[in-house]
């Protein structure tokens, strides 16, 4: 088994080496002629308005949070589902099933909670209508 894991490690290194090699080879071949306009940030041909590094909308954070919860639960569930068959064959199937159901039940309640709280909606409420202010166009 260690042999296999070492193999996986080698593959990670190979991935690194592959991209390194392609970029390194390119480094020898490609021109390098940096000019200020070339190195400017692209914003559809206009000078960029401010930085893109801003405090971003919280929605993304909530999605990430929900994901973390679910993903951890999935990680917990991997061993359970892996041994489920063995338990079934050794006659403890209903016991294992009940445990599984309990666990998924808790998970499902969590999902329903988030759903009811409307945190699965991307836009929680639409902003109130404002009159058009064209003077800000400039």
């Amino acid at each position: 088994m260690y042999f296999d894991f070492a193999n996986v490690l080698v593959f990670l290194l190979l991935g690194l080496g592959l991209s390194g090699m392609m970029l390194g080879l390119g480094r020898l071949l490609r021109p390098s002629n940096p000019l200020a306009p070339k190195l400017d940030t692209y914003e559809c041909g206009e000078p960029p308005t401010g930085s893109a590094w801003i405090n971003f909308n919280i929605r993304f954070y909530l999605v990430a949070l929900i994901f973390v919860i679910f993903d951890v639960e999935i990680a917990f569930m991997y061993p359970v589902v892996a041994v489920f068959r063995d338990w079934l064959l050794s006659g403890r199937g209903l016991y294992a099933l009940a445990e599984l159901l309990l666990f998924i039940g808790v998970l499902a309640i969590g999902l329903v909670y988030v759903w009811v709280k409307r945190d699965l909606e991307w836009v929680k409420q639409l902003p109130a209508e404002q009159p058009t202010d064209l003077s800000r166009a400039a």
Partner: protein
């Protein structure tokens, strides 16, 4: 491979006396390099060419047909061209993160090939947690994409990167949950173990094992498409909205590496789907010759997995792109609950349904699947016939 190394270093082997670990490491590197350069790179490259050809066909265009026979070497030309392109890192960007983001994406895709079982013998590492490993290591892609989007300091990139992060992490849930029914059935997380639990015939595949696995297959495939940033879920690089999404600021080889990973991942999706649901390399017993067997199994596996690559191309040419809120509600409000039901359903199925009924259900499911296919082909044929009729009627000879 381990046996080979043991043979070489053992008593009377060619490399007797050389330290075992050195030989093992060398062997791994050599085999890995062979897989990467002989298989992974060409597959990713040829997929890019084939996708453009298939796409062109569907869109009544010609597609790249100049470089090599039928444009077959287009991917090499593209690679060389991109290698010769200047590498631009915007002054406003975070140089370090900007540079290493493509590495992470490529590692995340190359590393998956370590556990893909091409035949009963052709597998680099048959991990006992192979499935878990694949879901884990593809997660590197999202880190890379998010890093690329953030480091560019470009608003389009940022939006693309964050969309991508939200999308990939969300769809990992239904994808992960859809693997569980298979793991429940086999009781192993090893890719080889899962394939060995199936047979060569469609009714032995997990796809047709029960209604729940049938549904799980579709959930998994759709979620995998979403994780691979494929249409209809290509929001991170939505050309018409975000210019080029997270790779807006990238150029030359760094840009290409993202797409190398995307096309390579397409094959990985196909391979995982084939492994989990479609019987992998299983073939009927035809020969005892190990080499021939390996070749046949590899061929079957490759065709099966490439079929899904083709389906992904087809889907890309057919469907529009969903909006980000629709994407999220599709994932959380439809796919996650259905995947949970699949999981519970499979567990109950295994506990309750006796083996005899199981067999009947498998046959019935296979027939249902065939019926769906037949219905589909009839519809497509209907369209084809109409198209042909009109072509004859028309004054001009059709261009294609």
């Amino acid at each position: 491979m381990k046996q080979l190394v043991l043979q070489l270093t053992g008593e009377g082997g060619a490399l007797a006396g050389v330290p075992y670990h050195l030989v093992a490491a060398l062997a791994m590197l050599v085999f890995g390099a062979i897989v990467v350069f002989v298989f992974v790179l060409p597959v990713a490259g040829v997929t890019s060419w084939l996708e453009r050809r298939v796409w062109a066909r569907i869109q009544s265009r010609v597609g790249p047909n100049r470089v090599g026979p039928q444009g077959f070497l287009q991917w090499l030309a593209d690679g060389i061209k991109n290698m010769l392109k200047e590498d631009i890192i915007p002054t406003a960007a975070d140089r370090v993160l900007f540079s290493i983001a493509p590495y992470l994406v490529v590692i995340g895709f190359v590393a998956t090939f370590a556990v893909i079982p091409f035949s009963s013998t052709l597998v680099i590492a048959d991990l006992n947690i192979g499935v878990l490993y694949i879901t884990a290591v593809t997660g590197l892609v999202v880190v890379g994409v998010l890093m690329a989007g953030w480091a560019s300091n470009n608003k389009w990139s940022l939006l693309g990167g964050i969309r991508s992060a939200a999308q990939i992490v969300s769809y990992e849930i239904p994808a992960g949950l859809s693997i569980f029914p298979i793991v429940l059935l086999t009781g192993t997380l090893s890719m080889q173990g899962i394939i060995q639990a199936q047979g060569w015939a469609p009714w032995h595949w997990f796809l047709f094992h029960s209604p729940f696995t049938f549904a799980a297959f579709f959930i998994f495939f759709v979620a995998a498409l979403a994780e691979g940033n494929r249409t209809p879920f290509d929001l991170p690089e939505a050309e018409s909205e975000l210019v080029a999404g997270f790779c807006t600021e990238y150029s030359g080889m760094r840009y290409l590496l993202f797409f190398l990973a995307e096309w390579g991942n397409l094959y990985v999706i196909g391979a995982v789907v084939t492994t989990l649901f479609l019987g992998g390399w299983q073939i009927p017993h035809v020969t005892d010759n190990p080499v021939l067997l390996a070749v046949l199994q590899f061929g079957v596996f490759f065709l099966k997995s490439y079929f899904w690559v083709f389906i992904a191309m087809w889907v890309r040419a057919t469907l529009p792109r969903v909006r980000v809120d629709q994407l999220m509600s599709l994932c959380w409000k439809y796919m996650v609950p259905i995947a949970l039901v699949n999981l519970v359903g499979t567990a109950i199925w295994m506990t309750v349904v006796p083996a005899r009924v199981d067999r009947l259900v498998q046959i019935a499911m296979t027939l249902a699947g065939v019926a769906v296919l037949v219905r589909f082909f009839l519809r497509v044929r209907f369209q084809l016939r109409r198209a042909k009729l009109r072509a004859v009627d028309y004054y001009y000879s059709p261009i294609i």
